[in-house]
Amino acid sequence: MPMAGYTYSFDHAHLLGIEGLHPLDITHILDLADRYADATRAGQRADPVLTGRTVVNLFFENSTRTMSSFEIAAKRLGADVINMPVANSSVKKGETLIDTAMTLNAMKPDVLVIRHSASGGAKLLSRKVDCAVINAGDGTHEHPTQGLLDVLTIRRNKGRVEGLKVVICGDIAHSRVARSTTMALHLLGAEVHLCGPKTLLPPGTDTWGAASATTDFDAALKGADVVMMLRLQMERMDGAFLPSRREYFRYFGLTQERLALALPDATVMHPGPMNRGIEIESAIADGPRSVITEQVEMGVAVREAVLDLLAGTHR
């Protein structure tokens, strides 16, 4: 993107996290994703910039949603897509992540999209292969395309990101979405407030760029432009992170009354899949302020943009 005095080019070999990206990188990805989203809405075919490219979806954790989103994005751009849900293949027989990576690498793919249960899994893979690696979620670390799609959805709905007050509520400690989305929003100038039960609020969220971390959801909501609810994993009831679903919903569930504390035009988001009645009321999830399905739509657009930037034949 030409700017006064210099030209910008996206020069990252991989997308492993939001950490390490410059605000210009993010803006560039979002601008491209915007164009892909508009084209899809207008019923236009995208340029097949990935024709002849092979994209491998290497998912060590099952995730139909994210894998489908990457698959659709890659196919729209003309790529050949191989889905490898490794959760039930040779890795179960003792083959390590690196062995799998080296085997796949020998088949010369152009892009590896990886989801792995271990933090740092994508980074480890990127050190051992020659192709571009996209992190589709590594443990409790990052999920950068989710962070980007969240920011894109916000930017399209609010017309800007800078200066917005965004509240992210839920299991912050175990959420890779919270990390990536907080970092991306902060880089573009939004004010991010994290909220959740004390046992699920990790230390040092200021280093992610969060303006505050609180257990008082009501106070955090005041004046919020955007409210993002995170999925509560039911296993958090084990190990004494939380007393019960009921108590969680009482303090951290998004209800109509609570949403009234935010700005009247506040946007409601959720990375999905939702636990209706636990972190969010159905009426809100399906209501006019919810952009949850638009997030899914923007997910495809962002992934098209990232695949294009990392592996497009015209670049």
Partner: protein
């Protein structure tokens, strides 16, 4: 066979000696120590001009793991000893965490015998406190002590049940056996893989909180006081744990502390981009904590610095951080880690050497670890300031999982003698 080493800088932490001199070795023992600029001893069949290098007792390491028996692909007693003597370590204690566990007299004898036949350094077996390290049934502490197991420990599997710990300590005390235990409340540290805190949270790794160590140490120290047991608190990683120990010592308890050399060198930031060579337990803490440990070392509150040598082959380390094995190879880098503190952190040279020579010797009741007439001639000639680049592939351990890989270090052993025999020479190193 007699040897005279002259033109050396004699360093004896036990007596505070630091001056030029010569040493005469005969029949494996130190026969004479001559201070001042003297030439070679007149009776010596062989003479060596040290060229002004430091001559000090060889290092004594209280905590080494090998893979023998059971995991020889990781390390054998022989390969560990090769690595040890290259790092100036002439005596070391091997942990009972092997397959099978050293919880039986036969295993103690096996290690002594195997070491005698294959190793270049003196190797002392430890015995398990409980059968199979399972923390349930007491192992044959008395019989193993009679077979010359030198220390008793549950290794990397500290005893969770306080009642078992208390009985084991009481029994060990009655046999005058030395007990060593990792202070670790597993209910708190269980799933952790690095130091807890902001950094762990940001990179999405589960943390090992210092409270796990404090609670473990407080329990073990109180039980040692209650039973009169001599206790070595294994691999302290925070200053506060040392305070817990100091308080008990103030009440007359026989409690000692060790610190792993790498803990004095690295902090949690070295984990960086999920470097599994920096995955150790206890974990590298924050910089303030590291500085606190160095200060404690200067105040002589740390009885022994250990390598915590724990060889792990690539298949255990080339994994995502959370799944990789704990442990770092350290025998060859302990002295350099300490010399970096001498050169960069104002640690007096003799204070750096005492916790790896005379103090562990006193703990174990060994005659070596000092420059003393009649003591075994386990000696090192070293250059405390010599820079070198640590390259993993050049380390002599069978597993080279060293966090020092790629680091510039200072301090290099030039020659190592065990019982008067040269077992390592830097120039001849290949």
């Amino acid at each position: 066979m007699s040897l005279s080493i002259h033109n050396a800088r004699l360093l004896d932490p036990a007596t505070g000696l630091d001056e030029p001199g010569a040493i005469f070795i005969d029949k494996g023992k130190i026969k004479d120590i001559a201070k001042g600029h003297s030439g070679p001893h007149s009776d010596a069949k062989e003479t060596l001009d040290a060229g002004g290098l430091c001559l000090a007792p060889g290092l004594i390491d209280l905590r080494v793991k090998t893979g023998e028996p059971g995991d020889e692909q990781k390390e054998t007693l022989a390969t560990a000893s090769r690595s040890a003597v290259a790092g100036g370590v002439t005596s070391f204690v091997v942990m009972p965490d092997t397959r099978p566990v050293v919880d039986d007299v036969a295993l103690v004898r096996f290690i002594i015998e195997q070491a005698r036949k294959t190793a270049k350094a003196r190797i002392y077996p430890s015995g398990a406190l409980t059968v199979g390290l399972r923390g349930e049934q007491m192992a044959e502490i008395g019989l193993m002590a009679d077979a010359e197991a030198i220390i008793f420990t549950n290794g990397d599997m500290p005893i969770a049940n306080a009642s078992v710990m208390k009985r084991v300590m009481a029994y060990a005390a009655s046999r005058n056996a030395l007990v060593m235990s990792r202070p670790d409340e597993r209910a708190l540290s269980g799933s952790g893989v690095m130091n807890s805190g902001a950094l762990a949270a940001r990179i999405g790794l589960s943390g090992i909180p210092p409270e796990a160590e404090w609670i473990g140490a407080a329990r073990d120290v109180m039980l040692a006081e209650a039973t009169g047991c001599r206790l070595v608190v294994d691999q302290v990683s925070t200053e506060r744990t040392l305070q817990i120990i100091a308080a008990a010592r103030g009440r007359g308890a026989k409690i000692h502390a060790t610190v792993a050399a790498h803990t004095l060198f690295f902090n949690e930031r070295d984990v960086g981009d999920y470097l599994t060579y920096c995955k150790v337990n206890p974990p590298f803490r924050d910089e303030e904590t590291r500085q606190g440990l160095i200060a404690a070392l200067k105040r002589r509150e740390i009885d022994a610095v250990v390598s915590a040598h724990d060889p792990q082959p690539p298949e255990e380390k080339r994994l995502p951080f959370g799944e990789a094995a704990f442990g770092a190879a350290g025998l060859e880098t302990t002295l350099s880690a300490l010399m970096s503190l001498v050169n960069d952190a104002d640690l007096p040279l003799l204070d750096a050497l005492a916790p790896v020579t005379c103090r562990p010797a006193d703990l174990l009741g060994l005659p070596q670890g000092r420059l003393k007439t009649g003591a075994p001639a386990d000696l090192i000639l070293f250059n405390p300031g010599k820079p070198w680049l640590c390259v993993r592939e050049e380390l002599r351990s069978r597993s080279t999982n060293s966090p020092f890989d790629g680091r510039r270090l200072q301090g290099r052993v030039i020659r190592t003698l065990v019982g008067g025999e040269t077992v390592f020479e830097y120039a001849a190193a290949g």
